[in-house]
């Protein structure tokens, strides 16, 4: 349905997106994962025709939309990361204004406004100015605005940043329903791994402007199929203890957590006995061991050496 071909963007000398290839089939829900500055928003800006790519192409149903973006604009709903609403206007006035410029037919506009308000659960607050809304409510109207013209493809750029868990769950459920019940194709960007895990069929992982991995969740997790994640809870931590663990030949990575350490090891050997021995040497008491299934977060860590929220 929608596809980018070697999409690149450079601002003067700085390349922010490089050779990004991704595609979305109709009805799919696809995640775009990456830390801040990975190039996700720039990629979305190019797909949504806000930015012209330096090179590469964006295709809708096989046809390029770079020169004439009107086709893609018609079918695309974009929820920007920022609250792109007029703060002094009411929710209703914002929706009416954007509905008109999205060219929703006049006779349908009122019903579409009410439908989208109902969808985001803010029908009773429609006359209130946006500036009086909470962060979560603003995010919901931000999404409602992108849904006014019933887009076939919905792009959400980190739609849950900075909001309370309740609003976050509301938004995630709403996106899931749009995808499952209405067949809307979704491109969801986030650096909250669990959201992508919950919503998306396939995932693209971006870092430093490039797609570094892609596939279904199981495909991505299989990258870590020859590794185990061990969480160790201890009463205290010393540098010597951590260094000693790092020196074990099968240990790939050691990361401090709040109350202990997270160790990624090759599946070839059990290192529990080594850990116990080292703890004894350092007078450290091991409180708990936990073997974990790898997550997308672990995949990202494996691929980039960084956590998503760095």
């Amino acid at each position: 349905m929608i596809e980018t071909v070697r999409l690149s963007k450079a601002f003067k000398e700085k390349v922010v997106v490089e050779d990004v290839n991704l595609y979305l089939d109709q009805g799919e829900s696809v995640g775009l994962l990456g830390p801040n500055g990975a190039g996700k928003s720039t990629t979305i800006s190019m797909i949504s025709s806000l930015l012209k790519p330096t090179s590469g192409d964006v295709k809708l149903d096989g046809q390029s939309v770079i020169r004439d973006p009107s086709k893609i604009r018609k079918v695309l709903g974009v929820v920007p990361q920022e609250i792109a609403l007029y703060q002094e206007l009411s929710a209703y006035e914002n929706l009416k204004f954007f509905g008109r410029i999205y060219r929703v037919p006049k006779d349908q506009l009122e019903s579409r406004i009410q439908e989208t308000l109902q969808m985001v659960g803010l029908q009773d607050r429609q006359k209130d100015p946006i500036k009086t809304f909470s962060g979560g409510m603003k995010r919901r109207i931000n999404i409602a605005t992108a849904l006014l013209h019933s887009p076939k493809i919905l792009i959400l750029d980190e739609p849950t940043v900075g909001i309370d868990p309740q609003s976050r769950n509301y938004i995630l459920e709403m996106v899931r329903q749009l995808n499952v019940q209405k067949g809307t194709t979704v491109l969801y960007t986030s650096h909250y791994m669990e959201e992508v895990e919950q919503l998306c069929h396939r995932v693209y992982i971006m870092d430093h402007g490039r797609v570094i991995a892609s596939g279904s969740q199981s495909e991505l997790l299989s990258i870590l199929s020859n590794e185990d994640t061990i969480k160790v809870q201890v009463n205290q931590l010393t540098d010597a203890f951590i260094t000693a663990i790092r020196n074990i030949d099968v240990v790939r990575r050691v990361e401090e957590t709040g109350d202990g350490i997270k160790i990624i090891v090759q599946k070839s050997r059990n290192i529990i006995s080594d850990l116990v021995k080292l703890a004894e040497q350092e007078n450290i008491q091991i409180l708990n061991f936990q073997m974990e299934n790898p997550s997308l977060e672990d995949v990202f860590l494996h691929l980039t050496g960084r956590t998503l929220r760095n």
Binding site: S48, S49, L50, L51, K52, P69, S70, R73, K74, L76, V78, P80, E82, I83, A84, L85, Y86, Q87, E88, L89, E93, F97, F98, R100, I101, Y102, R103, P129, T145
Partner: protein, 425 residues
């Protein structure tokens, strides 16, 4: 485009602080400045400002007096006793000497310099801006005046008062001379029961000397000046206010949201342009009407006058809409939109200063006054002042055409500057 216009008007209306600033503040300033500056003007002018008048005497007073004396003496119809009284009175109260003495009296000397000079020298000085005005006592003035008053013979002679342009200072000199001549006429009339001398000729100079009957003009005061200047100035602020909303729309990404719809790109720009026109028009009219209600600045004026005022306000608002369009396009191109307010403020201050919106334009040097008339606000101020004084429709066409041309140029520039897709920073 109507959608954008409605949005911009609604956003402006919702910003109560902005509404009160653009409507109430100029009215407060008009009132404050009118009271404070008129006091300064009346009290301080004598001490600080030096008005200058060139006095051109082409009349030969001695010859006229001798001729008049001879005519009176030879007249068989006047009794001898009356002849003596008449000649004695005329010698004591020679009109030119009285006028010259008055103009050079200590009372006037402290705030008005009167130089006696030739007509050509006076004309040159007016052109250079060295003189505010010149008063010409023409050839045979005394002879004609005396014959007309005392012998009821011939026509009334006129003095010529010539100035380069209308100005408060010129009005003041004119009023002083007129006041003196009225008094002198009264004295002559009392003595001879004769007719009044007519002093109503005001000549505006060069490039088609314009003669305007004083009786048909209206006295322009600082009250009207500040109503006009604040109106013109605050509409400049309105152009900037509407344009600088684009900064918020960029910052809050609503502009980006608009940019990814299929709405023609220029609708955003034209929405701002028309919103500025409507708001500017309303603002300037509210300032005029408010000034009139509070200070009575346009008392006893005709419907034609008000029509002309509305016409100039509308044309000026078009020009300001053009300016606002340029500012909008610039805002969209600027990397640091937060700097926009500062840049616009500087532009407004410069326009306001050279356009005579902060201080009466007459206190500025001539070259600056000429530049000022090339700014939309300066030109509007000049045409409003002329319209107020002379209410002559022919005065409106040229400035209106210039303002419309400025509007078209400004809108064209704004379209050229308006960023294409991906060019916004």
């Amino acid at each position: 485009m109507l959608t954008f216009l409605k949005k911009d008007l609604l956003l402006f209306w919702r910003d109560r602080k902005e509404v009160s600033i653009v409507i109430i503040l100029p009215l407060i300033l008009v009132v404050i400045l009118s009271f404070s500056m008129s006091g300064l003007f009346n009290n301080g002018l004598g001490e600080n400002d030096d008005l200058s008048l060139g006095l051109v005497i082409e009349d030969n007073q001695d010859e006229a007096m001798a001729e008049f004396e001879s005519t009176v003496k030879q007249s068989p119809s006047i009794p001898e006793e009356e002849k003596r009284a008449l000649l004695s009175h005329v010698q004591e109260a020679s009109p030119v000497a009285m006028l010259t003495d008055f103009l050079k009296s200590p009372d006037l000397e402290s705030w008005m310099t009167v130089q006696t000079m030739s007509r050509s020298a006076a004309e040159e000085s007016i052109d250079n801006g060295d003189l505010n005005a010149m008063l010409v006592i023409p050839e045979n003035y005394t002879a004609q005046l005396l014959k007309n008053i005392y012998l009821d013979d011939g026509t009334e002679p006129s003095l010529s008062f010539v100035a380069k342009e209308t100005a408060v200072e010129v009005d003041m000199i004119h009023d002083v001379i007129q006041g003196f001549l009225d008094t002198m006429n009264l004295q002559y009339a009392l003595f001879a029961s004769g007719s009044e001398m007519d002093f109503a000729q005001v000549k505006l100079p060069e490039g088609g000397m314009e003669t305007i009957e004083d009786k048909q003009s209206f006295t322009f005061t600082l009250d009207q000046y500040f109503a006009f200047s604040m109106g013109a100035l605050f509409v400049l602020f309105m152009a900037s206010t509407v344009a600088s909303r684009t900064v918020v729309e960029k910052r809050e990404h609503t502009f980006h949201r608009i940019a990814i719809t299929n709405t023609p790109a220029l609708h955003f720009l034209f929405g701002k342009t028309f919103a500025t026109f409507i708001l500017a028009c309303l603002q300037i009219l509210l300032i005029f009407i408010g000034s009139h209600v509070i200070l009575g600045v346009f008392e006893d004026r005709s419907l034609t006058f008000w029509g002309g005022l509305f016409f100039v306000a509308a044309i000026y608002s078009f020009a300001m809409a053009g300016l606002s369009a340029i500012m909008t396009s610039i805002t969209l191109r600027l990397k640091n939109p937060e700097a926009v307010d500062g840049i616009f403020l500087i532009i407004i201050m410069v326009f306001g200063m050279i356009g005579g919106n902060f201080v009466p334009i007459y206190v500025l040097p001539n070259w600056l006054q000429q530049i000022g008339e090339w700014t939309p606000n300066g030109l509007t101020l000049a045409v409003l002042m002329e319209w107020f004084q002379f209410e002559d429709i022919s005065l409106l066409w040229m400035p209106a055409s210039v303002l419309l041309v400025i509007t078209l140029i400004a809108i064209t520039i704004s379209i050229i500057l308006y960023p294409k897709r991906g060019e916004t920073s």
